[in-house]
Symmetry: C2
Subunit: 200 residues, 2 copies
């Protein structure tokens, strides 16, 4: 496997992580066996173009051919529209990542519920303000609540749990917003998936 194809595989893997998807979750969405995704990410196979395009599509990536000489400019553009990187306490980073994963995981399940959309907004704000987070404990509690959502279908109990989680998130968010210079200067992202802080 050459550098070029390894790059592609790396990019797919990273994009999957940023969306908080496991290989199995992605597998179901894209209709490719988990075993195959594993092989692809490890460069064990020379996948077909259609496979790559399918994966890219569900990961909100676009596969394009650009003139080699424009590559630096292109990369610059891509980088500049990526979220800012901030150094944050590792345990906070870890919990934030789980929050993101959990939220994404239930996004399909509760897609129609306004309550869930509101919750996502709160979480987005919290992630933007990550630099203000000094203690990971509130995030852990938030994750606890998020996990509980999994068990529910769309019934009264789910709504109750959802509302409680949203309130919890809002409270934490407000607390963070109190500190000055709270919001990072981040371009809005359509999906709830901000950059990880563990590779910079």
């Amino acid at each position: 496997m050459d550098y070029q194809t390894a790059q592609i595989a790396e990019r797919l893997k990273k994009a999957r992580h940023e969306k908080g998807l496991s290989q199995r979750a992605l597998s179901e969405r894209v209709g490719i066996p988990q075993s195959q995704i594993s092989k692809i990410e490890n460069g064990a196979v020379d996948m077909r173009l259609s496979t790559l395009v399918e994966l890219a599509r569900t990961l909100e990536l676009e596969l394009i051919l650009v003139p080699r000489k424009t590559l630096p400019a292109v990369q610059s553009v891509v980088r500049s529209s990526a979220p800012r990187r901030v150094s944050v306490d590792p345990s906070v980073v870890k919990e934030l990542k789980r929050v993101r994963e959990n939220a994404n995981r239930f996004a399909a399940q509760f897609a129609k519920l306004n309550e869930f959309a509101r919750l996502q907004n709160e979480l987005r704000d919290i992630e933007r303000m990550r630099a203000q987070i000094l203690d990971s404990a509130p995030l852990r509690e938030l994750n606890q609540s998020l996990k509980k959502l999994k068990a529910f279908q769309e019934n009264d109990e789910a709504m109750k749990a959802l509302r409680k989680t949203a309130e919890q998130a809002a409270a934490f968010r407000n607390q963070l917003a109190h500190s000055a210079a709270a919001f990072e200067n981040v371009l809005p992202k359509s999906a709830y998936s901000l950059e990880e802080g563990d590779d910079g």
Copy 2:
């Protein structure tokens, strides 16, 4: 075949033309049968990633995955660093294309010769000044001379023919340069391959 993969195939085909390569010529460079290249360009096969990367490499293209949301900005950058488009007489366009193809075809054969590099510079200038070209006849003559180069190896005869062609090109170039606003505002390209004018 979906739009995405069709796009890729289109891009490959266009890049090949811009380099003045036939399917067979490309086939030899990249080590893939001509029949396969034909199928690929027509979307008759779902090629493997390694195949795509190989083709892209020899066509001086880069295959990359970019976040969907950055696509407009990326495309803008790629477009802005592309050569300007000018409407030119069709017969002139046709001959210019042949000049480009011929020059590229012999580039490898005479790579070491300074005379050939000089000739390429002349041709580059001529192509930049295409808007000034009113008659395709001089280009046809130029193509005649270029064709003759094919028969030669690196011997005295080749040198003579080469020098004659270069002089011919220089004469035409100087004639064009006489007219005002001669040079188009085109970014320099590393290889001798300017944009075609027949698809805008």
